[in-house]
Symmetry: D2
Subunit: 334 residues, 4 copies
């Protein structure tokens, strides 16, 4: 049986081709992949062939924000899972190391993560995954929504790191897909108010449509924030936003881009700001799926483009061509 | 009765002169000041006439690391306190604002703090203070040790912010008085091992004498740390030390000096480091005094110089003249 | 000017009479009281003349869930507050003791609390309060809603103690006013689902009307809960609910009534349950007001009865006469 | 080769007999067992054939506080481990379930734990264990000290649960082996003072010898404690000690024995005490070993009796015969 896959051979060299169909090993499920969101990191691998120390050295199937239906189960897995729509948590940790035992499995140095070289990703017909990382979607969700559990997980992790709760005024810098999701998640954590900034009027319009406060990143801040979720990756956004933080404020760096940012030490000290970053997520999928299912986080509005697997390269490049693109979704079965 | 005081008139203009003797108001104690440590911030005011937005605009008594004996009590204060040796917590907050009510009184915007312009400090014969901030010293402590509760408090606050405990490998960059005290405090919090770095062989020798691991700041790191207490204020020390942090490591910025430091975002993200700063301290004095009294923190070894009040200017400048100076103590009654 | 007040002289001896009109001292506001909710503790004082060690020994104005309009301001208070609707946080702590300095001002042993003997309460024409504890109501709130910030605060404190957040299945035992509010607050903290139990069909009906899951306290539990907010005060409710807790579950005892409850140690140990209690609240009023203003917590549905000040005794006894009474409100200006 | 083992067949039916020598499977080490401490739970199985729902239904090797030397390694394990002294963490969790992924592997429902029916324990010549749970002992430790990492882990877990740190006055009720170790661990966490109570003068004498404050359990408390580590399992000890807790105190139930204890709700509420229990431990072994190696926790003084494997039954019963018995150690190679 065919297993059509989107394979990255190197910088801007993406080919859709047949790959062997995998089989579910012990403890695994075999999943027919129905929706895979394109993430900035996928595009970065496509554009540059690497992210930091991770280099695409051989052909690698791309994509890691995936969902689909279980079609087979390996030894030790409940066969009743067949037919279930699952969101695929893309990183399976070693479970043995100090980080795993401490519950910080996202920091496991030996994690096997979809589409992080040399591990194959999920834009393919069928894929295998450890059953514990294939999370059943609540009733009513479709595959696209379930696939969005991945970027929503980024938001859940950020709100947990920041300790978002009622009373908090939350600022989200950057209204791309991650920012728009992280902002909605912060609201679901009970935040008193959530403000999103961006330079794009289109994106600010989507933020408003999602019920968020939207303001231009060009305007100076005129109020104080308890939490900053930095999703733009722009050093100047971070600098300006940190000056708007209230005493004891918490800053989470989510956006990538800058290697080094200048941080004002007297600001951190005199207000006792806390600053941290997120690396993927741990124990977030069930919560993310539940936030999508309850409607607390609207993911559908953010999915602006859909492609069949043969058009995966278009999905990779849509963000450059269309300023109104947010999340592009590849549907591998079409 | 005379109240001889060390008064800063402006940059490098320090005069020892008579000042009116204060009286204990309601809720206050009157304390005969017996020992006042000289802090880097005192020296900074002496050298530059300002620290950031705080400018010495009129004559101000200097000094804030003080201890002495209660000689009178105001209305509502137990008269039995007379004759008690007390460590003077130098900042009295408003107790009304949001920060005070949340227990973060160190972040109170209306705090009245010794020797922070325009508030007079404690190098004087007698001084008044809110009784709740005059902490009785445990039996056996002398005034110099009690005065050291202030810089020890900085260390207690840092170890609390970092959550230091058994299992933690702690790195302290900078072996000045604050670094040497913060390192001992971290050990008292149960840290598995505490390493201190500096460029001065003399300071590293004192660190070793205090039972700490000492290593040159010039050598590259060859192991990982869970906690960094940055006490040097040097950006390059921070950069090098952050690269030596273990996953989920915690960084506390204590040292002042640099306005802006370059921070590597991928490092913070991929290891999920947490970075914060300290601004003074809250609820630390009883613990600090107890650590000194139990011998867990040796403060006496760090007191390298003593001066009478007439020599306060010498105390301010000793650090520049003598590379083997650590903490200079002014004894206002001599 | 008259200052009509509801004064408790002893067990079931409540008299409405004139009292001197107070004046705002330094730091205080004078508030025209417009709404005061009747709390179970008020009724307990009325019925029994005491609660534990607190005994009504002389005449005491009753009531502590109050809101009204600022009509005068004392020295040091912004006169612009006049005309503002404020919710009155009923306990003013000493601000000096260890508990206050640590931010746990609800545990201050010297707190002065409305209608806790011998301190007068708030069912009176005008009352004074420390301005820092008179919380301006957000736009759109009326006095009744603002007065409800007190029981909502109990819920906020409970959800904070329990660390309620997304993913949590919350069980609330007891659907009286506190239970119905605590349940709504837990939902606003992001709880995945909130289930309320009671023996009263009427109360369960109100719970459903508020969008909560309602189930009879007589039915055995068939699922697991991460958080228990015990609001019934019934030992058997606690025992049954604790057996339904998931591993690492958190239990908060809010309801009063039982002096001693039997707790199963093997249950606490084998599941590592955490159990704590709430005593009033700290730093909750702004959040409580905001939850009411946003509509996240519907307080109006819970207010089932309203009385003029002359009918305060009816307000005290309505719960006994009418099984469909939830919160009774006294409007002192009517 | 022989594999002499102490096998429990049922109530007070313990036989020492040959068992097949196991082989290290993939990821496992084979360890020559050199020391195994006898725990109260071992004695309980010996005396009663069960602990709660865990029933000894077939022959089971007893003992779970073990250490020894690695003599062989399975596939995927560094062969260089051979010859290393290791402490054996007795419970290997499933690593897949929700509890494991959250870092709470001690609450894993599928944990495989030495000498918990039907899993064989460690009083045997050689035993296999997952390599990740065989913790290398620091230099200088002998096998008996390494075996004590198990009960020391109980203390580490308790101090973590209680958040013990500098400033805390800690009360430990019960001066058996667990109490004496938990008390020393609390001191190593920086506790301001640690008081141990018991009814046995002998045990109180050992407590004093270990540098702890010791007082008779019969005397009423005359001071306040921030932390209670309940190690006696006696309900009356818990009741008395809870009344001695300071506001915001933390109580940890470690001792077993009572099924149900009466808890005073007004006490928990008015002081906002927090009460929890411990079930084994997670991520404690490296810390426990380090505390033993540094001398912070003296385990040797607590080992009062040693037996060869043929005398295992004597080790089980020594506590009943000798009131001066604390920890009995079985040395399976002798």
């Amino acid at each position: 049986m065919s297993n059509r896959s989107a394979v990255l051979y190197g910088t801007t060299d993406l080919r859709v081709e047949e790959r062997p169909r995998p089989q579910a090993g012990p403890g695994e499920v075999l999943v027919r992949v129905e929706a895979v969101g394109i993430c900035g990191s996928d595009v970065h691998y496509y554009d540059h062939g690497r992210i930091g120390d991770y280099v695409v050295e051989g052909p690698m199937i791309i994509g890691h924000e995936a969902a689909g239906t279980v079609v087979a189960t390996g030894d030790g897995v409940d066969p009743g899972l067949q037919g279930t729509l699952v969101a695929l948590e893309p990183g399976v940790p070693c479970r043995v190391c100090e980080q795993c035992r401490a519950g910080r499995y996202n920091l496991c140095p030996d994690v096997v993560f979809f589409a992080t070289p040399p591990v194959d990703g999920a834009i393919t017909g069928e894929v295998t995954l450890d059953a514990a990382f294939a999370h059943p979607a609540p009733a009513g969700l479709d595959a696209e929504q379930a696939a969005m559990a991945e970027p929503v997980s980024v938001g859940v992790w950020a709100s947990r790191k920041a300790g978002v709760g009622p009373g908090d005024r939350v600022l989200v810098t950057g209204a791309g897909p991650i920012g728009l999701l992280a902002a909605q998640v912060a609201r679901a954590f009970g935040a008193r108010e959530v403000t999103v900034t961006d330079v794009s009027d289109f994106r600010l319009g989507v933020a408003r449509q999602l019920g968020l406060i939207a303001r231009s990143a060009k305007e100076p801040y005129d109020s104080e924030y308890d939490v900053l979720l930095e999703c733009s990756g722009a050093p100047q956004a971070l600098t300006a936003a940190m000056r708007a933080m209230a005493r004891a404020g918490r800053v989470v760096l989510i956006g990538m881009g800058a290697d080094t940012v200048p941080v004002e030490v007297p600001l951190i000290q005199s207000r006792e700001l806390t600053l941290t970053g997120t690396f993927r997520y741990a124990n977030t999928y069930p919560v993310a799926l539940e936030l999508i299912a309850s409607g607390a986080v609207d993911v559908t509005t953010i999915i602006t483009h859909r492609f069949g697997i043969e058009q995966t390269e278009d999905a990779m490049t849509i963000a450059k061509r269309d300023p109104q693109a947010l999340k592009a979704m590849v549907l591998p079965q079409t």
